[in-house]
Symmetry: C2
């Protein structure tokens, strides 16, 4: 059985929770895949410190997924399943259950309360904290995923240099084709923003010709896990001032990374980065970074009001940027692993501005 399930069972003991229900419904709780390695349309998992986990899956998905499930017994959801689970809760005298309030709608919880006459407690924080510390398997997977992400960027840059990709959309499509080629999917819709568009952090890629600073923000979803990198290149001839702005953003990233230590508050790193930007601080309009994993935004948060501290096993992005409205924008983002009290850079943006 998955070690993280064992760890979670111990957490349940601490929380005095005899049972947790993890659902895969409209909102696919990543914890479901995290424990089971399958992604059913509708399914329910029972985790208890008192008995081994059980997984119930809709008959529509059953035949297809039973081979892949990490959790056995892998059971078929039948008409009497809920009655059986109710019996089980009676046998074990369960009066309190944990569910993920961040992945359950108000109506879903309402229906649960009607069904089971017991108290429901939120376990969203526990599940997020569990996922924030990556296992050795996850770390290995990220080393591979980062390499694949870098390879896709190299291939894309080569095509841009050959003038084969001339517009934002062409770059986006090329990247997404390459991602598909390796049987992966984009971890979010690729952003390509050139010229004035680069000043809009969430610009929707269009037919604009590549020109001046060009921000390319993309990632792959490899075996369920997200990478997330941003490269800024320059099409044309940058002025000295423009090169200096690139260097400023790059150094901000390095400076933030160098400050990271075990137990250090993530909020402090954000302060360091903002300080480094000096008077350009106000043009940095988003968070400094975020954990990555089964979701593109996970713990830890690298924001000014974040409460988290850096711990071994965390994988996260650092992505400073500056945006001058109607002029241009620069963002540089890399993925990092903190392990054995050391920061390991998983992806590497170039120190010197790439000029095409």
């Amino acid at each position: 059985m998955n070690n993280k399930i064992k760890e979670f069972q111990k957490k349940l003991v601490k929380l005095k929770l005899p049972l947790a229900l993890v659902f895969s419904t409209k909102l696919k709780d990543p914890a479901f895949f995290y424990f089971s390695k399958i992604n059913p349309e509708y399914a329910l998992m029972l985790i208890s410190p008192n008995f081994s986990p059980k997984l119930y899956c809709s008959s529509l998905d059953f035949e297809e997924l039973k081979v892949h499930s990490r959790i056995k017994p892998f059971l078929q959801f039948k008409k009497n399943t809920l009655e059986q689970i109710k019996k089980l809760t009676k046998t074990h005298k369960i009066k309190k259950m944990g569910v993920n309030f961040s992945y359950l709608t108000v109506n879903e919880l309402k229906n649960l309360k009607k069904l089971f006459k017991c108290k429901f407690v939120d376990i969203s924080g526990e599940l997020l904290n569990l996922r924030a510390i990556k296992t050795n398997d996850e770390i290995k997977l990220y080393q591979k995923a980062s390499k694949l992400t870098e390879q896709i960027w190299s291939r894309t840059l080569a095509q841009i240099k050959l003038k084969k990709l001339k517009t934002e959309l062409q770059v986006k499509e090329f990247i997404e084709q390459q991602i598909k080629r390796i049987n992966s999917a984009p971890s979010f819709p690729t952003i390509v923003a050139s010229g004035k568009n680069a000043a809009i952090p969430h610009h929707v890629t269009n037919n604009a010709k590549l020109n001046g600073f060009c921000i390319i923000d993309f990632g792959i979803r490899y075996k369920g896990y997200c990478t997330d990198v941003t490269r800024t290149i320059f099409i044309g001839k940058p002025t000295n001032k423009e090169e200096k702005f690139y260097n400023l953003v790059y150094e901000t990233k390095e400076c933030a990374a160098n400050k990271i230590n075990c137990g250090e508050k993530t909020a402090n790193i954000v302060k360091t980065a903002r300080k480094h930007l000096g008077k350009y601080d106000k043009f940095f309009t988003h968070g400094l970074g975020h954990g990555i994993g089964l979701e593109i935004h996970e713990l830890p948060n690298l924001k000014e009001n974040s409460k988290e501290k850096f711990e071994n096993g965390m994988i996260f992005t650092i992505e400073p940027g500056i945006y001058f409205k109607n002029k241009f924008g620069i963002r540089i983002e890399d993925d990092y692993l903190f392990e054995r009290n050391k920061l390991i850079q998983l992806t590497k943006a170039p120190k010197k501005l790439v000029v095409v």
Copy 2:
């Protein structure tokens, strides 16, 4: 302003709700796009019978989306926005608000309750009922979307006949390419299930060679709206018995469609279909159909325990199927519009089994 917003404002009066909050968060409430025609990452809409709707959008999306929004004023979410909304609720003495409990997580509602000291009432049912009756614009859109869906199927069938598509995956990829070509997206992952695989309603398309009965279930998302059709063809030479099974499923669909009248309970149509299947009823293991719209499953439900009645403006699928485990499966699904007390077939599966 959108007529549906006016209709919704009238509903709020009936419900004695002075304000409704519609969110676009982790769970993208389709009602948000329904009213505004935009799909922001994070946004909030205020709808009240007492003042014109307001829309607040994150600064990251603001520049990009303000042109497309149907709702003006289109405002930027700022640090003091929630304080302003709180003031507004005080000015209007609002003590009760409507929110969509089916698209709000338990934690999101918890945060709202902390912020606004008022009662929150579920409006999920009202929003679903509103969306179930399509407007003239939506009906026009569906006529176009259905044609596009049929065209994609014709092109796919032609390629299968030319033996250019020989495996499940090849068919799926061709269909999804064609969908992309018309700047559309699949409304759900295309299902291609051949031979024994066709007996698994939610089969995950693989490299299996097309052989025997082959079920192809796909749809497009056209301007936000989903189509959903299933075609079953036969690769090879079907026996008389196999042809009879196709005819049985086809006639079941026709027989159900013919029974539809204004005010008729959808559950009665399901009974009609099951009766028509006779002793093969037990091999029909899913619902008879479902409304389609911004979501692939909307009201009305065509299930045995459904409470809905057919009304003018409804658009839905009828999709009987039979599945013989480890042998084969057949499903035929078309999209229908009920308008001016008449059933209009939007897509047309062939009466005679197509043999390749």
